[in-house]
């Protein structure tokens, strides 16, 4: 059983939960940038969470299943068409063999997810079917004419009445990170409520925030150190970067803040130019070195 790629769109990759245990070799985690939407797509077609799905970027993807298959499209809002007819976003669809499935360009959000019952069965690389776009580890991005193998469905999809909305309010809540003291209290106060716009260079590596300059309290240099998913780095430019799925495993800029897992899904869906309000979570003790 396989799926033919008719038009891969600008960037469509295969993603699962990512590769772990290799950060010390410099290998990013990768995995779906909007984990919640990928999870939902898998649930809708009866797959386990670790099944591999497609992740589109802005422009969509066009596919032709060579056998009948159940699929679901989630994530960024987009038009879905099966055999030229409008089909549902966020619901399982059973598509007959040979029917062209068009996942249109995103009208809200950036990344759509397409799950197939049985999951994409391409060969894993270093334990994962994810493509990491920083080092290009994993299966290459989709190409026209390529055939994607699909596995055997684990179970029948559960009946679904309505899928939860995947709209994301544009508020980014930061908690203090390991180098929070590189920004003084006045700058932290100024940051709370500040409005940034999403930079055009944002990608699977990081969400770039452009706006008021966040000044460092020190001009020291930091030795490279390990980076976590959701780390908010502050380069000398004073424009923060939120590290997403393909972030480098070490870095030399201070991590002043951290963004929670659920917020990362939103970070993966905000579009360049959109305005994001930063909130500083004051519920934590001011000193992270408890």
């Amino acid at each position: 059983m396989s799926i033919e790629v008719v038009d891969p769109g600008p960037l469509t990759t295969i993603q699962d939960l990512g590769r772990v245990g290799l950060a010390h070799l410099g290998v990013p985690r990768a995995g779906a940038a909007d984990r919640g939407s990928a999870d939902l797509a898998n649930r809708l077609v009866g797959n386990p969470a670790e099944a591999a799905v497609l992740e589109t970027t802005m422009g969509g993807v066009t596919l032709r299943p060579l056998r009948a298959v159940t699929l679901a499209v989630t994530g960024a809002t987009c038009e879905v068409r099966c055999g030229g007819r409008a089909a549902a976003h966020g619901l399982p669809l059973t598509v007959p063999a040979g029917t062209v499935v068009e996942v249109g360009p995103a009208s809200q959000g950036v990344r759509s997810y397409v799950a197939f019952a049985g999951g994409l069965a391409v060969e894993p690389v270093l334990g994962s079917r994810s493509t990491d776009t920083l080092a290009w580890v994993g299966p290459p991005p989709l190409a026209a004419g390529q055939r994607l193998p699909v596995g055997v469905p684990a179970s029948a999809p559960a009946p679904v009445d309505a899928a939860p909305s995947t709209q994301h309010p544009r508020v980014l809540t930061l908690v203090r990170g390991p180098r929070a003291d590189w920004v003084d209290d006045d700058a932290w106060r100024a940051l709370d409520g500040s409005v940034f716009s999403v930079g055009a260079a944002s990608d699977r590596v990081g969400l770039r925030l452009e706006g008021p300059v966040v000044r460092r309290a020190t001009s020291r240099e930091l030795a490279s150190e390990g980076m976590v998913l959701g780390a908010v780095q502050l380069p000398p430019s004073g424009q923060p970067i939120v590290f997403l799925a393909d972030h480098p495993t070490t870095g030399g800029y201070p991590v002043i803040g951290l963004v929670g897992r659920r917020q990362l899904d939103a970070c993966a869906q905000w579009r360049p130019g959109e305005q994001v309000t930063v909130r500083v979570d004051r519920s934590l003790p001011p000193d992270p070195r408890r």
């Binding site: 580890v137 490279s224 976590v228 070195r289």
Partner: protein, 196 residues
């Protein structure tokens, strides 16, 4: 040793120097700590995918010492023909031949990988040999470039932007995702450069 909490699931352990970081990482990986990722770096070890409170207890069992891991010895044949061989000779106030002699005389150790898959930070050059990075990084350093920055040596596993001083090239394959382990110079690996 100082512990810095990184959110709900990670702890950064500050230890002060690369060899202690390597020793702690080896101890943690050998079972001292239940972590998803153990990422040694220049003066820290990141323990990711942990319960921060549990890690505090686990780390209490670390003696603070422990041997720097002594991994396999890899010999890297190098053509010392890089564009900054002359710069390094001037910086070290010696001849280019002497740069090659010095760089091939020291046994280095891979302390950590980062920047790119398989890019290993090799420690062991004396501090008096530290060289500054380029003022402005090159947009493309070729794969196999042998480079110096501060007291670190490294080999670029593949073409990438970079600001290190290039002194030579090797044909050795540093990174192969289909090899186990994929990185030739995983942390703990001992390295000798050899003029070819």
């Amino acid at each position: 040793m100082r512990l810095v909490t990184v959110g709900d699931e990670a702890v950064l352990v500050e230890v002060g120097d690369p060899s202690t970081a390597a020793a702690l990482a080896a101890w943690a990986r050998a079972g001292g700590v239940a972590a998803v990722e153990v990422v040694p770096a220049a003066t820290t070890v990141l323990l990711d995918g942990v319960d921060p409170e549990l890690v505090r207890q686990e780390l209490a069992a670390w003696s603070g010492g422990g041997a720097v891991p002594s991994g396999p010895l890899v010999t890297i044949p190098v053509s010392y023909d890089g564009p900054e061989l002359g710069f390094v000779a001037e910086w070290w106030r010696c001849s280019e031949d002497e740069v090659v002699r010095r760089h091939t005389s020291v046994e280095l150790v891979s302390v950590f990988c980062g920047f790119a898959p398989g890019f290993a930070y090799l420690a062991g050059l004396p501090t008096s040999w530290a060289v500054p990075r380029l003022e402005s990084p090159r947009s493309r350093v070729p794969a196999g470039a042998v480079a110096l920055a501060d007291t670190w040596s490294a080999v670029y596993p593949r073409a990438a932007p970079g600001g290190w001083r290039l002194i030579g090239t090797t044909a050795l394959e540093l990174w192969d995702p289909h090899r186990d382990p994929p990185a030739l110079l995983a942390p703990g690996t001992r390295v000798r450069f050899e003029a070819s």
